[in-house]
């Protein structure tokens, strides 16, 4: 017995030593997949693309409402009725580079961009997906990437242009001039436009029309008016979209003017925007109150003033709030709204502005009247001059696109009037506040990143 036990020892030890490799093998995590498996076929690759839509709607972020709130505070659309230091900085145009919301918008945008780059790389390298499927999935990712970069350049100015998942390369990228970023945006959108199918019934995913509509906007912003008219016309005359009959129906699930929208994913939320803008009861003060300047610019019979502005009355005082989305939550009810990213009305406004810039006052007037009439206003008569019609376009953009994806903030800046307009209404206004600061944490972590002036 004694001899036998001694013999066991080396056997046990040898067994341990030789089976070490097996002893430290673990299964892949039960709740996760490896990149290889994700891109093993088109169904799974499609799920990787779908992932970004879920993330876009998973919480309040730059793709689910942040851009309707914070730039609107920085501009002249909203008052902040319940301030914290973080959002108070937006309202006061006194952002600090350590502001967490500014940092969050930046980081979330790049995180979403990483997702798209990872999908583009994974799909391109996959051996098991048909080439045409590959091209479509890549094109969809490129629309989303372009959309994110479009918002980044408009919020922060020059930004690093990251087109790879290789962190060793991307970690030291410096900020690229706005034109270069726009070139990439245009290239992504052109590729997507020509590659993606026209799936109007699938407008909850970025399709060909989404690329076209975004291109129209990008060309307008870049001053390429002919191209803007061309793209906007393509959408307007496609026959696939018509303006919703009343403002009330624009953001509904059945809206006929939606080019691209996102499906709310959180079962308890309708849209995040509705949740943030609508007070918890009609007797509560909303957190974000529509500014007098905005309310005053509505004409008397403007349907948007009655249908897109909500009111609550507290202690005899009336507070107005954005009411484009009607549902605060969807708890206990059917969600009848979608989060609209791109819609037909903007295409009319784009074409109207581009036409005016090119001297086609008549065409411009026709388009702006489409917007006016839907808002219950009378058509503007022909024969006004360029300046008048541009002013009218600016006003209609302000009203039609109020508190929607930061349009007002972007418009003030791109038309060069931000300083003139905001210095009147914002006591702490400085021209350098037009650009948000690059988050300080990011500057600390990337020695090649510079700060915007004034911060």
């Amino acid at each position: 017995m004694k001899k036998l036990s001694i013999l066991y020892i080396p056997i046990i030890l040898v067994a341990i030593a030789s089976s070490c490799k097996q002893l430290v093998q673990i299964d892949l995590p039960k709740d996760e997949l490896t990149t290889e498996k994700v891109f093993s076929d088109s169904t799974n690759a499609n799920a990787a693309i779908v992932g970004i839509y879920v993330r876009m709607q998973g919480g309040l972020n730059l793709c689910s409402g942040s851009l309707s709130i914070y730039p609107a505070l920085s501009a002249d659309e909203l008052y902040l009725a319940s301030a914290t230091e973080e959002n108070g900085q937006f309202f006061a145009n006194a952002l600090l580079p350590i502001n967490n919301t500014v940092g969050g918008i930046w980081s979330t945008a790049y995180s979403f961009i990483y997702d798209q780059n990872a999908c583009i790389e994974g799909i391109t390298q996959s051996d098991n997906i048909r080439e045409d499927q590959k091209a479509e999935l890549v094109a969809e990712a490129r629309v989303i990437r372009a959309f994110l970069y479009f918002n980044l350049v408009n919020l922060y100015g020059a930004v690093p242009l990251v087109l790879t998942t290789d962190y060793d390369h991307s970690r030291t990228l410096s900020r690229m001039p706005v034109e270069v970023v726009y070139d990439q945006i245009i290239s992504d959108l052109l590729y997507a436009k020509s590659t993606l199918p026209l799936t109007v019934d699938q407008n909850f995913r970025a399709n060909s029309d989404a690329a076209t509509a975004l291109l129209a906007r990008v060309y307008l912003y870049r001053g390429n008016y002919a191209a803007a008219i061309e793209q906007a016309t393509e959408i307007i005359e496609s026959g696939r979209y018509t303006l919703a009959p009343t403002p009330n129906e624009v953001f509904s699930a059945q809206s006929t003017e939606t080019i691209w929208n996102l499906l709310p994913v959180n079962p308890a939320r309708a849209t995040w925007e509705g949740f943030n803008f609508i007070p918890s009861s009609p007797t509560r003060i909303p957190t974000y109150v529509l500014s007098e300047a905005l309310l005053d610019s509505f004409d008397e019979d403007d349907l948007r003033a009655s249908q897109w502005v909500g009111h609550s009355t507290v202690n005899g005082q009336i507070y107005a709030y954005p009411y484009k989305y009607k549902m605060r939550t969807s708890a206990g009810q059917t969600n009848v709204e979608r989060y609209v990213v791109l819609r037909l009305a903007e295409q009319y406004l784009i074409r109207s502005e581009a036409a005016a810039e090119m001297g086609d006052i008549q065409g411009s007037t026709a388009d702006i009247n489409v917007i006016r009439i839907r808002a219950g206003l009378l058509a503007t008569a022909d024969g006004y001059d360029r300046e008048f019609i541009l002013n009218e376009i600016a006003k209609q953009r302000r009203l039609e696109l109020m508190c929607e994806w930061g349009h007002r903030w972007y418009d003030l800046k791109r038309t060069g009037v931000a300083d003139a307009v905001l210095s009147n209404v914002k006591p702490n206004w400085r021209p350098s506040a037009e650009l948000f600061p690059i988050p300080q944490t990011q500057i600390n972590r990337n020695p090649f990143l510079s700060q915007n002036t004034g911060y």
Partner: protein, 1024 residues
Amino acid sequence: MKNIFLLTFLFFPFVSIGQTVRGYVFDNRNEPIAGITITLKETESNTTTDKQGRFAIAVPPEGGILVFSGIGYSTVEVQAEFDTELKVNMSSERNNLDEVQVIGYGTTTRRYNVGSVTTIKAEDIAKQPVSNPLAALQGRVPGLVISATSGLPGASFNVQVRGQNTLSSSVQGLGVATPLDNPLYIIDGVPFAPQNGNINQLRSIQSPGGATVFNNQYGGSSPFNSINPADIESIEVLRDADATAIYGSRGGNGVILITTKRGANGKTEFTADVSSGVSVIGKTIPMMDTREYLAMRREALANDGLEPNLTLWDPAYAPDLLAFDDAKHTDWKDYFMGNTARNTIANASISGGNQYTNFRLSAGFNRNTYIFPGDFSENRTNLAVNLQHRSVDSRFGIDFSANYSYTINNSSGSPDLLMAYRLEPNFPDLLDDHDNLVWSYNGIDLGMGINGNPIAYLRNLYSTENTLLNSSLQLSYKVSKALQLRASLGYNTVMGEEYFGNPLSAQNPHRGLEAEATFGNNNFGAWIAEPQLEYRKPVGQGTISILIGGTIQYSTNDKTQITGIGYANDDLLGSINGASDRYVSDGFSEYRYAAVFGRANYRLKDKYILNLTARRDGSSRFGPGRQFGNFGSIGAGWLFAEEKFISDNLHFLTYGKLRASYGVTGSDAIGDYQYIPRWAPTTYPYNGVVGYSPQNHFNPTLSWASTRKWEAGLELGVYQDRILLSSAYFRNRSGDQLVSYYLPTQTGFGAVVDNWDALVQNAGFEFVLQTNNLQNQHFGWTSSFNISLPRNELIKFPDLETSPYATRYVVGRSLGTIYGFDFAGVNPETGLFQFRNAQGELTSTPVSPSGTRFNDFIPIGNRDPKFYGGLQNALRYKGIQLDLFLEFRKQLGTNFLQQAYTFTPGHQYNVPAALLDRWQKEGDMKDLQRFTASYGDAYRTGQHFVMSSGVYSDASYIRLRNLNLSYTFGSATAARLGLSRFRIHAAAQNLFTFSGYQGNDPETQSLYGVPVLKTFVLGINLTL
């Protein structure tokens, strides 16, 4: 001290020996003790024991009390008995070099240990009325820094052995490097499954998250709170290569071994200890009263050229000035944190056995309430069992231990509660006559304000229930005199259940009424099997011992979280069923670890010691081809006092040892699956399709971090070891840094787990001086002093300039260095904070670092303790015992101004009264700038100030960590009560703190946090 009066009577065949009492004295290891003085109390006649520990003393026929005393041993009194041989067990006092020291896979003694190990014994733990064993170690171990994350019951502790080895992964603050490198924790041979990670998943007042304002990013619920300090026999802290290399890859940051109590040979003994007491918050810095607060607000608005008004979004919105009652004053700090918390500690155990079988069963209960109003408490129930058995021929042995504990904690799930006392001092009453929350006052919607109604935070429900089971089984078989086979098997599980409920009745109606509840599970499990073979044989003039073993370890963690919202009624919040919508998520991870290890020790003539260890480790945390690593150490010791030429010349020197060790240890502490590029399914589907989203950067090349440690030590004992000095110099260098390496988020993630070729050095001196100042029959006085002087330095960091750490670290400086603006007071003209810029000019608009340039940032200092340690004094007079333990630490820390200025003073919330010493008018020379209520220049300079040298100041302290006074009744009194021992005791924890710190507590350094509490308890201890 437990064993002071522990007597063992062993009945021998009846031999009449008349009036001479004979007997034999032995120590805890059953070794005879020579030189013990035996005094007959009545006549003072005495004798001493011989080399076999035997004695004989004449005693008058009527009997008497024999007093056994000896240097290094606790004094014992025994009733003389004539008819039996007395067997007297004496426990060693603290200075005993031959007491057992637990080391990796074995035991040794201080005398022959060549590694760096400190033992904290049960008696020192028992003196402290703490519920977490980590708290009992504070200040007692050289090289070990333990800091509480808060004074809340159940809160976690930061633990670090010999400094920070890795680049910081902490994101908070600028240049703030907080301790991260946790040592390895092993309980009865089984790695503690959760280690020192926080067991909670949800936020609570214990775990406020990363917000800078709480200055408590590591706060959470400590898994060690599940372990009853009263069940611990000893805690060993292993530091150098010799001691830790046997743990190979896991030993890089030191090892903490916890050994639970075992049954002792002898008659069955029942012990009970019950104590009860209170805890209070102690001194905190006062906030402004209503008059001061209102003056500040008026001044702030006036400074900004604003007239107070009631337009919600106006910068001059001031309901506190216009609508609240000027005459009202409430000390909200007192209201929220001024309550007295109650503590109850109760422990009972039964133990006994004979030479073959020993057992111990114990049960414990511990309850701590909170200083907050409401029904918050932490309650723990423990059960522990230990069984030891050996066969009659002593060949076969079995040792089984199991610990079970159940802890339930009820508190608030709203960390904002910690800031509740920022409330304006004239804020209206928070509750109406029906105890409902007040949300409206004098036409003001209170929910719109920054503070809201903080009672809402109190009424958020939070609970955590932790169940711990730790069991270990050791089997041994002596094949021959030289060879022993052992197998250690262990299983450890900690199951955490958490609950957060946000009832409708506690909600700010403005923010939206949506009742919500979250249910979380977080389960850790680990099993381990370690076959070992030990061979011990005299070779030449020495003894060789060889240990060979293997480890297979498997750990798992799984968690689930279910959130329900849309409850129609608060009464249903305790169940998921009442929710209209639910989200569920889960997570799993597995860890496998395998190793072979060996140790060879040769001790020649009890003077020369050589110790070699080696370990080959494999870890599932690394990718194929990179899983295995080799670690090892060499240690040597020379007991020079045993040399004839020394002992002949230096008679006073009774002990002298020189020791040195060198070795390589490692770390795989990165979390599981990091080398795999992972995608996780999304929480929600999108149009019916579940999406995937990427989880990490792909890095397949991860491998072991390694720490090269060397150490040299000198230990001296003089005057029969009454004075023992132990000194050590160590130098640890950590390379192949395995860190969660910062990345700018433009890469997609904020970090990547990677090996980084930076080299971090921790070096320093550690001294322990133990003295047995006085020891006689009535009076005893021992002291123990330890001090550590560490120094951290970044030795090498290739490509630092292009790395994300370019303006965070500097080669040649400590990782704990803080960089910030150079604060230069307040500009007397503008009243704004000013700073000295890089050109030496004063400016209120300093430039933050960018690129590789620090711009106007300077190194402010470093947060590593300069030195730290403790001083223990134990005094005994007859039955009275007084223990005093002082902990001290010299360090730089953040003062209250950092958090006070994170929110700008002058806005609508209260601030410390100390801020009244501010600039008011041109020409004022002050250190604090003018108040402001808006977001102008003063707001910006305030935010610069938070990043400047102005918010760092000395946070050194000397704390009377523990004061314990006890009285042990004489054995006659005890006997009258039917007891063999009866003791009453009073203890105070954190009674006094001597510190020039500007703020609440130099240990937690948090203004909006709960400082370490003062605790007072009274208790009784009895043994049947």
